[in-house]
């Protein structure tokens, strides 16, 4: 019997970094990383040195100087003596506005079209197929420009509403004006308003939030919560006794009475637009640029979402539908109870990337003169100050941040609907 000899303990030698397969890959990666960092550092250094040589050092002082240009669509108070930072903030809010409106509309239209495209009705599914192929295969910029051109050329001018025998009249009980400068709709006003909360003092990021809105949302949220509790109670009673108490009238009252009471207490009324001078005054002015951008972006993205939804639904085995039908569920219930909840797992991840696409595509706004962040910070500010590099870097940072936030939020949602593995 021979004694087991221990393998000789190898001490680490430098040559092993290259010749030993255990370490070689690590060595290569470290070398590549160092090389990459050197190239990056050289690029950045080269840029800074040369910009200095050109007499344009990288600095952000311009950001606090007066912007001295005007912006038409502003969700917050802005004046041409405010800083470039404030102007960028106005643009950022405009970007977010069109992104939120666009994502919501695209989702609704997309889901609807995706489901209808699978309809057994030949005509409906064909029409949806035509819609999808048309919108998906034409660049979104063309849709934006087309939508804008149609709005400008086909709708009447504000002056057409003037006179005793006007060529154009306001729609919906004289409350909505469709003009080629935008759509004017009534605005909610309160005679006994609770005022505003002023955030961030006098800084460029100052922001007013209406207390009326906060109270309204709180009460509405409370009502919805109460209504759900009542429904839960009704369900429990049904489980226990087999009889379901009549609750719809209670729910209705709980949902609507508190908010109606609040609106009455605040003196709610609508402010209607009216033609004064060159333009309509009063009401909410939805500019053509916003409508064109919103419509084109959402219809374009909806075509992609429709395909994702269709793919998600097709991914659910036909056996499930048949099984549900065998249990006596009607087609609509099968879709909403069996197919869609499972399809969501397939749908959500690609949906996130289309939300990101829509948000980034909103930078095409300049084609129709919509003042988003690309139009303010990346457009007029950049042009008037001549700080290309700084503005573009900031702009990239802003879009990166928005995209990462959307991803994070959607990932949280995805984690909730995805299959829980045990």
């Amino acid at each position: 019997m021979t004694a087991l000899t221990e393998p000789p303990k190898e001490s680490f030698r430098l040559s092993m970094l290259i010749y030993d397969t255990r370490y070689r890959s690590m060595t290569i990666q470290v070398v590549a990383l160092i090389g990459f960092m050197l190239v990056a550092a050289w690029l950045i250094n080269n840029t800074i040195v040369n910009l200095n040589a050109l007499g344009k050092p990288v600095e952000f002082g311009f950001f606090t100087e007066p912007a001295s240009y005007d912006i038409n669509q502003k969700l917050i108070e802005y004046d041409n003596q405010d800083s470039h930072m404030r102007a960028s903030f106005v643009g950022l809010l405009n970007t977010l506005l069109v992104a939120v409106l666009g994502c919501a509309t695209a989702t609704i239209v997309g889901v609807l079209v995706g489901v209808l495209r699978l309809s057994s009705n030949w005509l409906v599914s064909r029409i949806m197929a035509v819609y999808v192929e048309m919108f998906r295969n034409v660049p979104v910029l063309l849709w934006i420009v087309l939508a804008m051109a149609i709005l400008i050329e086909s709708l009447p001018r504000p002056s057409a509403f003037r006179g005793d025998e006007p060529d154009a009249t306001m729609k919906v009980f004289d409350s909505v004006a469709l003009t080629n400068r935008g759509v004017y709709i009534p605005e909610p006003l309160f005679t006994r308003s609770l005022g505003n909360i002023h955030l961030f003092g006098d800084s460029a990021l100052r922001f007013d939030i209406s207390i009326d809105l906060i109270v309204f949302l709180l009460i509405l949220g409370g009502s919805i919560y109460a209504a759900r509790r009542i429904t839960a109670w009704a369900n429990a009673t049904q489980e226990r006794t087999g009889e379901r108490p009549r609750i719809w009238h209670i729910n209705l009252a709980v949902l609507f009475l508190p908010t109606i009471a609040l609106l009455a207490a605040l003196g709610f009324h609508l402010g209607y637009p009216s033609l004064q001078g060159f333009n309509f005054q009063g009401g909410i002015h939805m500019r053509n640029s916003l409508i064109a951008l919103w419509l084109a972006l959402s219809l374009y993205t909806a075509a992609f979402i429709a395909e994702i939804v269709r793919g998600g639904i097709l991914a659910i085995s036909g056996g499930q539908t048949e099984a549900a039908a065998a249990l006596g569920l009607r087609p609509r219930r099968i879709t909403s109870l069996v197919v869609l909840p499972q399809a969501l797992r397939v749908i959500i991840p690609p949906l996130i990337s289309h939300y990101l696409n829509l948000t980034k595509n909103s930078s095409l706004a300049i084609a129709v003169g919509y003042m988003d962040i690309t139009g303010t910070l990346g457009g007029i500010t950049m042009n008037q100050t001549g700080r290309e590099l700084e503005c573009v870097l900031l702009l990239m940072l802003v879009y990166l941040t928005i995209s990462l936030i959307i991803s994070a939020v959607m990932n949280v949602y995805n984690n909730r609907v995805k299959l829980v593995e045990r």
């Binding site: 840029t47 040369n50 240009y69 001018r157």
Partner: protein, 339 residues
């Protein structure tokens, strides 16, 4: 677009060290043509004609420079630039010079690192309105919707004018003159504002120019002129003196018709002789041939000829000389002496 601007900025950085030192003149001679940035389309100043040849008052400056440098007025590569892209294109070396009705301001000269070589058109910002609107003064425009080209000085003047006069307005930002024209004619804005010369040029291309009126108020000073980037004084001298040669030629009575004859042998006027190279060595000082000014003037004519041909009273644009007359006629054109 973001990306291209960013890459553009990086290119600026990359090229800057080289471009600043290297002589633009040598680059142009080696290349065999001049890269000139012009308007995307403004009839009378810079617009392609039916055959695709660029024509106009600003274009003529490019052609004169090309003729002075290369002896061939056709050796120009035109790059149409919007109000937003022009300075980046110039700074990055994409174009050698900009002749794009650009207003000379301190910021653009100093902070944006450009060199304005002179003024080829003294302009001011005006407003155009449809006659049926019944407006006779810009002070009556309170609450109006105003179409405005973005990335221009007019944008800032507009904000200032309405602020000073305590009036509200709704700006509609627009990229190019053509889009502005479309929106204005569709009635999406009540008035369009830009340099008065641009308004006249735009109005000339309307179907019924008579239905539109340019308001009397001129709300700003807009000295428009060609520019080059900082850092190459030899090149800026060439562009500056080519423009001066065109202006001086009108004052001295040198036209495209008689320039060849005047240059064939010395005339009685020594200044003409010095300019046309029959006396002295001004061309050599500039690093050009002796007949540089002869080429520049025969390219399209002197300043007055160019004005009459492209934007003068007998053209559809119909601009009067006004401030742009020679100083001897009560205008502001005043070329320094050729000595």
């Amino acid at each position: 677009m973001n990306k291209s601007v960013f890459l553009g900025a990086l290119t600026v950085a990359g090229l800057a060290a080289g471009a600043a030192a290297a002589a633009t003149l040598d680059d142009i001679k080696a290349r065999g043509n001049l890269n000139c940035g012009v308007n995307t389309g403004l009839v009378g100043f810079a617009a392609p004609d039916a055959n695709g040849n660029w024509q106009g008052f600003d274009v003529a400056v490019c052609r004169a420079v090309a003729a002075a440098v290369l002896g061939d007025p056709q050796a120009v590569e035109f790059t149409p630039l919007t109000g937003k892209t022009r300075f980046t294109a110039l700074a990055s070396g994409e174009v050698d010079m900009l002749s794009r009705n650009t207003t000379w301001t301190l910021t653009r000269d100093v902070d944006l690192k450009n060199t304005f070589v002179g003024v080829n058109y003294y302009d001011g910002q005006g407003f155009i309105v449809p006659k049926e609107l019944g407006v006779t003064s810009a002070k009556e425009l309170a609450g109006a919707t105003v179409c405005i080209q973005t990335g221009t000085t007019t944008e800032l003047n507009l904000a200032e004018f309405f602020r000073v006069n305590n009036m509200d307005y709704e700006p509609v930002p627009i990229e190019t003159n053509a889009e502005a024209q479309q929106q204005y004619l569709a009635g999406a804005c009540d008035t369009y504002t830009t340099d008065a010369s641009g308004l006249a040029a735009t109005r000339a291309s309307f179907e019924n120019p008579g239905d539109h009126v340019i308001l009397p108020e001129i709300i700003s000073k807009e000295p428009l002129g060609p520019l080059v980037r900082h850092g190459d004084e030899e090149w800026s001298d060439i562009v500056r003196w080519t423009l001066n040669a065109l202006i001086a030629a009108e004052e001295l009575g040198v036209t495209s018709a008689n320039v060849a004859e005047m240059a064939s042998e010395p005339t009685n006027n020594p200044e003409i002789n010095r300019m046309l190279g029959t006396e002295g060595n001004l061309g050599e000082m500039l690093g050009l041939d002796a007949d540089w000014a002869v080429n520049a003037i025969s390219a399209g004519g002197n300043y007055g000829e160019l004005f009459e041909k492209h934007i003068g009273e007998n053209t559809p644009i119909g601009l009067a000389r006004g401030l742009n007359a020679q100083w001897t006629d009560g205008g502001l054109l005043y070329a320094p002496p050729f000595r």
